[in-house]
């Protein structure tokens, strides 16, 4: 059996809104296993980034969280800020979408990568040595000079590599990566994905990859969790879910992705836009856009249930898998 590192149980998050609290994450449960990459898939408003933000403990002020986020035997939801600080970076680290915004423009890359080491009172020469080693590991060329440079002297791809180095510095067991390649060009994206894969394998750490990009997921995710309007749709093994989706929404996503290596027709579009969590419809949140919707879907919220081979789906009428 795989070793569960992170267990999310019935997580719900309410954010204050102009018309009262909005439930942006609703009753979400899944696990992340050691040494595996779990992909969290969703479109805008799906709650995927909020879920990741809750794990690292950076939710905006006023957010009300219920449920449990179990890290080993500690509950991150009830943990004090002081305990969480100790965890952040050392046990759980985060890679953000926009390295330009996440890196401090006034500090050298070396200083930012080594920040967590200095916090641990590692000696100056040791910090320098480790930083250069980390920059080498993530493939930043000429690390001896590059570590003293500022983010603006780095290209987008190199900045993202520096972010990865920063995340690795604390030797975390779990890396949360929120759209780590979305802002990058395709040729750079391929290299960063290969880097993340290599690092994850070398270190045996777990990764929770948050993305709307199914093509990225198909390449790196061992397990995928599909979310829509703050709720779970489907959980299963990455390749299996993307090859044979059980939930009509996953299926619609999969057929919408145009192929490069073969010519595909433009997919039959779904009507409407992704549901806004503030106006989540009754019953299944996907029913207004679902071709298979029946009366039951309009009134009864589908619960997550096991179907075949470790696959879980929240649909009254799932596809055979």
């Amino acid at each position: 059996m795989t070793n569960t590192l992170l267990r999310i149980e019935q997580l719900s998050i309410d954010l204050p809104g102009p018309a009262g609290p909005v439930r942006v994450v609703d009753d979400v449960s899944f696990t992340v296993s050691a040494g595996r990459t779990t992909g969290l898939i969703g479109e805008s408003g799906s709650g995927k980034s909020m879920t990741a933000t809750a794990i690292i403990g950076l939710l905006p002020a006023g957010a009300a969280v219920s449920g449990r986020i179990l890290w080993q035997d500690k509950d991150l939801v009830t943990m004090t800020e002081k305990e969480r600080r100790r965890l952040r970076g050392h046990e759980i680290a985060m890679i953000f979408q926009d390295p330009q915004a996440a890196l401090d423009p006034t500090q050298t890359i070396g200083k930012q990568v080594g920040e967590i080491l200095r916090r641990d009172r590692v000696s100056k020469s040791e910090v320098r040595r480790t930083v250069i080693e980390l920059l080498d590991r993530v493939g930043i060329p000429d690390s001896q000079t590059r570590h003293a440079q500022y983010p603006h002297q780095y290209s987008g791809g190199l900045r993202q590599r520096a972010m990865v180095a920063t995340a690795l510095a604390g030797k975390p067991q779990l890396i949360l990566a929120d759209e780590p390649t979305t802002a990058l060009d395709v040729t750079v994206q391929a290299r960063i994905l290969a880097l993340l894969k290599r690092i994850r394998e070398e270190e045996g750490m777990a990764m929770l990859l948050v993305s709307h990009d199914l093509r990225v997921m198909a390449h790196v995710a061992d397990e995928v969790v599909v979310m829509y309007a703050g709720r779970l749709c489907e959980i299963g093994r990455g390749r299996e879910v993307l090859n044979r989706p059980a939930h009509p929404y996953t299926r619609a996503l999969v057929v919408s992705v145009p192929a490069v290596r073969s010519k595909t027709a433009i997919a039959e579009p779904l009507p409407g836009s992704p549901a806004n969590p503030a106006e989540r419809p009754a019953g299944c949140p996907f029913h207004p856009r679902c071709a298979k919707a029946q009366n039951r879907c309009r009134t009864e919220v589908p619960r997550m249930r096991q179907i075949a081979g470790g696959r879980q789906v929240a649909c009254h009428f799932p596809e055979e898998v």
Partner: protein, 263 residues
């Protein structure tokens, strides 16, 4: 057949005067030539910094080229302010960020009415503007109720439809789409691609489609121009580009692109 639009040897640089004296940075667009025929979709693909957006801005006239000519139906055209009204109308642009390209304080109705006030010659005369607006919104798949709403109250896909409706209000011949579907959710992206494909067929529109997404290009383009560091490295039919790319850079791009299949 005369091309609808033809770019010949376009050169654009963003040097300051001092940089130019020193020899300067490489040109953002460096000797680019291409043609778009009536009724054709030409995709310009490339990575960030390749110059594809600058080319689009030159075609629309938002950016002056230091060298080179753009011909519209055989006649040279310059910056948008120096173009005759008919040419300005004929070339319309749809931008990447659907919410940022619509004035948040204006209703959809007034956004569309504004272009008719500027270009009286295409303003409807046989029916009321309100009726014409409702009809136009229906053409892009929007409900009549959208007319009285403002951009912040619309979804990304709806905003992009409004942008397209605004362009169509001027009865353009060429639509320049700069990453027009890149900011949209995948489930909405195919709606807009379908819409563009339909409009192209029903309105005989030519489309210059700027994007980095090769999958989308394969679905909608007749021909593809590949840009790299300001230069056009290869222009060919979509089938040739995807099945027998000849330039090494095109091959690199295709190899790097991810697919759902074969992962």
């Amino acid at each position: 057949m005369t091309p609808l639009i033809e770019a010949m040897d376009l050169v654009v640089n963003f040097h300051s005067r001092r940089e130019a004296k020193r020899g300067g940075k490489p040109n953002a667009v460096d000797g680019v030539s291409f043609a778009v025929h009536p009724d054709e979709t030409l995709a310009v693909v490339g990575e960030s910094g390749s110059g594809k957006t600058t080319v689009a801005r030159c075609v629309v006239g938002l950016q002056a080229a230091q060298r080179g000519t753009i011909l519209f139906e055989g006649a040279p055209v310059g910056r948008v302010s120096r173009r005759p009204a008919a040419t300005r109308r004929a070339i319309q642009m749809v931008f990447q960020d659907p919410t940022a390209s619509l004035n948040p304080r204006m209703t959809v109705r007034s956004i569309i009415a504004e272009v008719w006030r500027t270009h009286r010659s295409v303003a409807p005369t046989d029916r009321s503007w309100d009726d014409a607006i409702v009809e136009l919104l229906a053409d892009v798949g929007l409900d009549a109720s959208v007319a009285s709403r403002r951009a912040p109250a619309l979804s990304g896909g709806q905003c992009q439809r409004v942008s397209i409706a605004r362009a169509l209000a001027l009865q353009p011949r060429l639509l320049v789409c700069d990453e027009a579907v890149s900011a949209l959710d995948v489930s909405v992206q195919s709606q807009i691609l379908r819409l563009l494909a339909n409009l192209r067929a029903t309105r005989k529109l030519a489309i210059l489609f700027i994007t980095h997404d090769l999958g989308v290009v394969r679905q909608i383009a007749d021909r593809v121009a590949v840009m790299h560091r300001g230069r056009l490295v290869e222009t060919a039919t979509a089938n040739e580009i995807f099945d027998q790319p000849s330039h090494p850079y095109t091959k690199t791009l295709l190899d790097a692109a991810l697919d759902l299949e074969g992962a």
